[in-house]
Symmetry: C2
């Protein structure tokens, strides 16, 4: 039963992980994927070889993997479904923003084009999620945004704080201000742990570490 109507789960999760990790460093190494997914490198090697055979990634021994166009489409589609699902669950079921992620992590693999389309319509075709992260369009295009969430910046990048997303969470806003992360300030991204991990950055010559949730609230414009 090679194909027919299979488990999208593993494939989509791998491609999504590779998509995220590639932001950090392009041919993504086996061990980074293993770390991100909580599996062993040997399992990753086998899987990326399969994905390569399916034309979803380009893999060269000891050299890492990159998404092909086809793989990128799948990753973006999965990301789109993830974000639409999060938004939808928050909207339609009144779940908190903290809570929706884990549910979406499962549901993103269980919804099809039709459901995606309906959710999109019901939500009014949103382009960004409450974190300020863009929701890829059906065709894979990502809304151009001059200000991007800090968490989406590449390592080594210098950028300026553009605005802090209003999460109606005044405690966090104060905390962020306290870190010196006020609009106009220039920071350099030193290190990003994938997914929910912390981000290390340099502000006014001083190193700081901020959590992923906080970083998602901080929109940045790149210093070219």
């Amino acid at each position: 039963m090679s194909s027919s109507r299979k488990d999208r789960r593993a494939t989509e999760d791998y491609l999504k992980a590779i998509y995220y990790l590639a932001e950090e460093q392009d041919p993504v190494s086996t061990s980074r994927i293993a770390e991100a997914r909580g599996t062993r490198p040997a399992s990753v090697t086998k899987m990326v070889q399969r994905l390569d055979r399916q034309g979803l990634v380009r893999y060269r021994k000891h050299r890492g993997v990159s998404l092909t166009d086809a793989g990128l489409q799948v990753a973006l589609s999965t990301l789109r479904r993830h974000r639409l699902t999060e938004l939808f669950l928050a909207e339609a079921l009144g779940l908190s923003w903290d809570e929706v992620h884990e549910h979406a992590e499962v549901l993103e693999h269980a919804i099809n084009d039709r459901l995606e389309e309906r959710m999109d319509a019901v939500l009014g075709y949103p382009e960004f999620d409450p974190h300020g992260d863009p929701i890829p369009a059906k065709d894979g295009t990502i809304a151009e945004i001059n200000a991007r969430p800090m968490a989406s910046l590449p390592v080594g990048c210098k950028a300026r704080v553009a605005r802090i997303v209003d999460d109606t969470n005044s405690e966090l806003l104060c905390y962020i201000e306290g870190l010196g992360l006020v609009p106009g300030i220039e920071v350099e991204i030193k290190q990003i742990e994938p997914f929910e991990g912390p981000i290390t950055l340099k502000v006014d010559g001083e190193r700081r570490v901020v959590g992923h949730k906080v970083a998602a609230m901080i929109l940045m414009t790149l210093c070219s």
Copy 2:
């Protein structure tokens, strides 16, 4: 990785199938399950042996399977999620009743207690779906209903038409009336194809075959 966080899918689908088929004939035969699921009998044998080992069914060679209490709980929970999901998709995404089933068939395996609870609350704790089929409660109890959908009756059962669920589909209502299936009429169930299959019955001494969708609209009271 024996257990941890597995694919509920196959297990739940088997148990659900067995639950439905048992209504027709209790120890359910291998081949009935195979037919219902579109797999080969040999695969079913292996699977029910596994389910037996897990304590979800009782299986005796050549004699068929029955659900254990644990298996029944899983089947009812799955059924509950299926029906809540159908209702929720119709409500929240404006999908037609025809359409929701196939989506629910996938999603029922992807939602957890929390989502189930939220959907239930948002829907106002419904006890029946639009077909008139009861939605099992969290504890597995099924709302007592004197009138049951025709599709839920056992084969050989004699029952009286109680009412026709108003589907706001006047064509179907007329069609049903045309078959002589008016309230008060006594019919005998001759044969039920599982799931969406047709139902053969005897009305006024004449055999008739009605589709599952039609049968779901006809609520019956048993003639004791």
